[in-house]
C-alpha cells in the first residue's frame, strides 16, 4: 500500500446541503472529495466503488472565514459569500500500489475543496499498517463502528457521466476530526489499522463490496 501526502494552504469541504449565503466547512473531507482528487490525478472519472480500498487522514492547523465574490451563472450579478476554510491542511491518502504512478504525475490540478484550495503532492511512500488498538480521526467512519461523533449524510461518489453530476451513493457517516489531545485520542479509540509513523488509525473504506 502507498501513502500519498498532499499539502495545501487552504481547504474547505462544504456540507453537501448547506449551499446558501454562508458555507461552513466539514471538519474533514467527505468521500466525494477524495473521489474528486483521485479523478483529477488520474485524468478520468474514478469510482470509489471500483477500487479495492481507500483510507484517508486529514488535519489542519485551524480554521478561518473568507469572503468570496461569486458570480451568478449567465447573469450580470454578483454576491458576497462567507466561506469557512481550514488553514495549513494535510491530507494523507492510503491506496493500492498502482496509484503511485498516478500521483507521480497528476493529470490535473489537485484541490482540497474549491479551485482556490490548490494542493501539492509532498510525499509518496510505501507503508505497512499495523492492526492494533488506536485512535481514529481526520476521517469519516461508518456508523457501525460505534464511535461517537458528528453524524451526517454524505455523498460517497458522484456519477460523472452526466452534466450536472449526480450523487450515486449516499450514506450517513460519523465525521471524526483529527484528535488534538490525548483525551480526544482516548475517546476515538478502536481496534483498527494504524499508521505507526503518524501514530493515527487509518480506516480503510471498502465500498467495492
Amino acid at each position: 500500500m502507498i501513502r500519498v501526502k498532499l499539502r495545501a494552504w487552504t481547504a474547505s469541504f462544504r456540507f453537501p446541503t448547506f449551499q446558501s449565503g454562508y458555507q461552513p466547512t466539514l471538519p474533514v473531507p467527505p468521500p466525494s472529495t477524495i473521489q474528486g482528487i483521485l479523478s483529477a490525478a488520474k485524468g478520468e472519472p474514478v469510482y470509489l466503488t471500483d477500487i479495492p480500498y481507500v483510507g484517508y487522514v486529514f488535519k489542519s492547523e485551524g480554521k478561518g472565514i473568507d469572503l468570496e465574490k461569486i458570480y451568478a451563472l449567465g447573469k450580470v450579478e454578483t454576491d458576497i459569500m462567507k466561506r469557512e476554510f481550514h488553514y495549513k491542511a494535510e491530507l494523507y491518502l492510503y491506496l493500492p500500489d498502482e496509484w503511485e504512478e498516478v500521483f507521480r504525475k497528476p493529470r490535473y490540478q489537485l484541490l482540497l475543496g474549491r479551485s482556490s484550495d490548490l494542493a501539492v503532492v509532498e510525499e509518496i511512500k510505501k507503508v505497512e499498517l499495523e492492526e492494533k488498538e488506536t485512535a481514529l480521526g481526520g476521517t469519516v467512519v461508518p456508523l457501525e463502528l460505534g464511535l461517537p461523533g458528528m453524524v451526517h449524510a454524505l455523498v460517497v461518489e458522484y456519477d460523472y457521466f452526466t452534466v450536472p453530476r449526480r450523487a450515486k451513493l449516499v450514506k450517513p457517516f460519523v465525521v471524526l476530526p483529527f484528535p488534538r489531545t490525548e483525551a480526544e485520542k482516548r475517546r476515538q479509540r478502536v481496534r483498527t489499522l494504524q499508521d505507526t509513523e503518524l501514530g493515527i488509525g487509518v480506516y480503510l473504506h471498502r465500498w467495492s463490496g
Binding site: P16, Y22, F161, R166, A167
Partner: protein
C-alpha cells in the same frame, strides 16, 4: 476544476462504464413486512422532521409509522402553521417564498388549512409513489429525486407561485434558483432531494427550538441532532410538546444563547435518566437563519462531544450548586474564544466546546475555596481532560502530604506558603514551592520526604507531555485539594492578615498618642 468533456467525450464514458444496480434498499427477501414509509437519514433537518412525525404519532421507530399517522401529522401541521407567529417564523426558515407552506405574505392572505393540507398530502402521495428518476436523493441516498416540475403538480397555489426547482425556498439553506452556482455544475434543477426528505423538511420546524432576542425577536432556529437517532426523541420532546399542547413554538425557556440552552437541556434530561443513558451519545446542534436577505443566511454547527455530555450530566446531577459556581463566570467581550463567543454567555461552556481546560474554574482563589467536590473534579480530569486515573490519585496523594505538612505551620506562615503556590506563574516558582514545603517538613520533623526526585518528574508530566500545560494543571489540582482541606484555616489566616495589616496601620497611627 477539471472538465471531463475535454479528456473523453461523454458518450465514451457511458459505453465503458459497467452498469451498476441502483443503490436503493430492497426489502429483505422473504420478509412480509412492507417497507417502512420513513427512515433516519443522518441529515439534521430531515431527521428532526422525522422526530416531529414520530412524537406527534406517539411512536418510537420509523417502522411503526402508518399512513394514518402521517395524514394526521400533516393535518396538524397545516393547522399549526396558520397560527399567529408561525408565519414570521417560517419565513426565517424557508426564505419567504415556500410555496408548499405558502409562507410569502401575499400568498398567506388567501391561505387556508385546506390548501396547506392539500399540498402536504400531495407530497405524501409522492412519498408513497416516488416514480422514476435518473437521480437519487443526495440526503437519504434511497429514493429517486423529485423534480421541481413534479412538485408543481401537487401544490395548491397559483401557477406563477409554483416551484421550478428544489431550492432554499423549500429546503433551508439550499441555494436559490437565481444563484445556480450553489449547485454542482450550475444544476438548473436545484438540488436532488426526494419527496420523503422534502416532506420531512416541511415538518421539522415543529421539532425546533427558537432562540429569541431579549426583545422577543427570532434570533435563530436551533435543531438538535443526536446519534444514536432514538435520543433525538427525548431531546426534541419539549419542542414538539409546545406545538402539540398550545400551538406555540418553543422559545427555549426564553434563553438567548443556544449553547446555554443545550447545556441546560442535557442537565435537565439527566435528572430523569442514569448517566449510562448518555454512553456513546453525541449531539450536534445546528443554529441557523435562512431569511431572505443574504445577511440572514448563516449557520453555526455546535458539536457537543460525548465526554462533555457525560460531564454536564454528572456535574448537574451530583453537584448542581458546584457546577453553577464553576460555570457562573460570564463570557467577556475580549474572551478571544471566537468560535463560540456568539453562542454562549458562559466562559466555561465556550472553553469546554473549544477543547480547552476549565480547571481554573474549579477553584475560587479569592476566597480560597474549592468550588465543588473532589469526585466531580476527578470525573472532569479523567473523562474530559483524559488524565490517567493513577496519575490523578498520585497527585491527590502528594496534595495530601502537602496538607499534612503545612497544616502544622502557624496561620500566617500557612497562608504565605499557599500564596507561593497560588502565585507560581513560572516553572521555577512552582519548583521553589516544593523545596520550601520539603524544608518545612524537615523543620517540623515530619517523617519521610514529600516525594522522590522521580516522583517530582512524574508530577511535572502528570498530565500529558506538554510541560507547560501539565504543571499548571497539577498546580490547580494541588490548590483544589489544599482549599478543600484547609479552607477554614486559610480564611481565618487571611482575615487575620487583613486585620493584621489594619492593626499595623493603627499601631503606627496610635504610636503618636503613646
Amino acid at each position: 476544476m477539471w472538465i471531463i468533456g475535454k479528456v473523453k467525450p461523454l458518450d465514451e464514458f457511458l459505453k465503458e462504464q459497467p452498469q451498476k444496480d441502483p443503490p436503493f434498499d430492497e426489502p429483505p427477501e422473504g420478509s412480509n413486512e412492507s417497507t417502512p414509509l420513513f427512515h433516519w437519514t443522518g441529515h439534521p433537518f430531515v431527521d428532526a422532521g422525522l422526530v416531529a412525525l414520530l412524537l406527534l404519532s406517539r411512536k418510537h421507530n420509523p417502522e411503526e409509522l402508518r399512513e394514518e399517522d402521517v395524514e394526521r401529522a400533516v393535518e396538524f401541521a397545516a393547522e399549526l402553521y396558520l397560527k399567529e407567529g408561525w408565519g414570521t417564523l417560517l419565513a426565517r426558515i424557508y426564505r419567504n417564498n415556500n410555496p408548499i407552506l405558502m409562507v410569502n405574505p401575499s400568498m398567506r392572505k388567501n391561505t387556508t388549512k385546506d390548501k396547506l393540507e392539500f399540498s402536504l398530502k400531495g407530497l405524501f402521495k409522492l412519498v408513497k409513489n416516488p416514480g422514476e428518476s435518473e437521480e437519487i436523493c443526495q440526503i437519504c441516498g434511497r429514493y429517486p429525486a423529485l423534480s421541481g416540475m413534479k412538485l408543481r403538480s401537487i401544490i395548491n397555489t397559483k401557477e406563477r407561485e409554483r416551484p421550478k426547482e428544489i431550492t432554499g425556498d423549500i429546503f433551508p439553506l439550499l441555494g436559490t434558483g437565481d444563484m445556480r452556482n450553489y449547485f454542482p455544475h450550475g444544476n438548473e434543477m436545484g438540488a436532488s432531494i426526494c419527496a420523503h426528505c422534502l416532506l420531512l423538511a416541511q415538518l421539522f420546524p415543529i421539532a425546533s427550538y427558537i432562540i429569541t432576542t431579549r426583545k422577543g425577536k427570532v434570533g435563530g432556529i436551533l435543531v438538535l441532532h443526536a446519534y444514536p437517532y432514538e435520543k433525538n426523541l427525548k431531546l426534541l420532546e419539549d419542542a414538539v410538546g409546545s406545538a402539540r399542547k398550545s400551538y406555540l413554538y418553543n422559545n427555549a425557556k426564553g434563553m438567548t444563547w443556544p449553547v446555554d440552552f443545550i447545556f441546560d437541556k442535557i442537565a435537565d434530561l439527566s435528572k430523569r435518566v442514569d448517566l449510562g443513558y448518555w454512553n456513546g451519545v453525541s449531539i450536534v446542534a445546528y443554529y441557523f437563519l435562512n431569511g431572505n436577505r443574504t445577511g440572514e443566511q448563516w449557520i453555526y454547527t455546535i458539536r457537543i462531544p460525548n465526554p462533555i455530555i457525560l460531564f454536564i450530566a454528572y456535574a448537574s446531577t451530583y453537584d448542581n450548586s458546584g457546577w453553577k459556581r464553576i460555570s457562573s463566570k460570564r463570557l467577556g467581550k475580549k474572551s478571544g474564544l471566537h468560535e463560540y463567543s456568539k453562542l454562549t454567555s458562559k466562559e466555561a461552556y465556550a472553553k469546554l466546546l473549544n477543547g480547552e481546560s476549565i480547571l481554573p474554574y474549579f477553584i475560587d482563589k479569592k476566597n480560597r475555596l474549592a468550588n465543588t467536590k473532589w469526585s466531580l473534579l476527578a470525573f472532569y480530569c479523567s473523562e474530559v481532560l483524559g488524565l490517567d486515573k493513577e496519575a490523578l490519585e498520585f497527585i491527590k496523594g502528594v496534595a495530601d502530604k502537602i496538607v499534612e505538612t503545612i497544616e502544622k505551620l502557624p496561620d500566617n506562615k500557612l497562608s504565605r506558603r499557599v500564596r507561593e503556590l497560588e502565585r507560581a506563574e513560572k516553572l521555577y516558582q512552582f519548583e521553589g514551592f516544593f523545596i520550601r514545603v520539603e524544608r518545612d517538613r524537615q523543620e517540623l520533623g515530619v517523617p519521610e520526604a514529600l516525594m522522590s526526585f522521580d516522583d517530582f518528574a512524574r508530577i511535572l508530566t502528570g498530565y500529558g507531555e506538554d510541560l507547560n500545560v501539565s504543571w499548571k494543571t497539577v498546580k490547580n489540582l494541588l490548590l483544589f485539594r489544599i482549599y478543600e482541606k484547609l479552607h477554614d484555616r486559610l480564611m481565618k489566616a487571611s482575615s487575620k492578615e487583613v486585620e493584621g495589616a489594619e492593626e499595623a496601620d493603627e499601631e503606627f497611627e496610635e504610636g503618636g498618642e503613646e
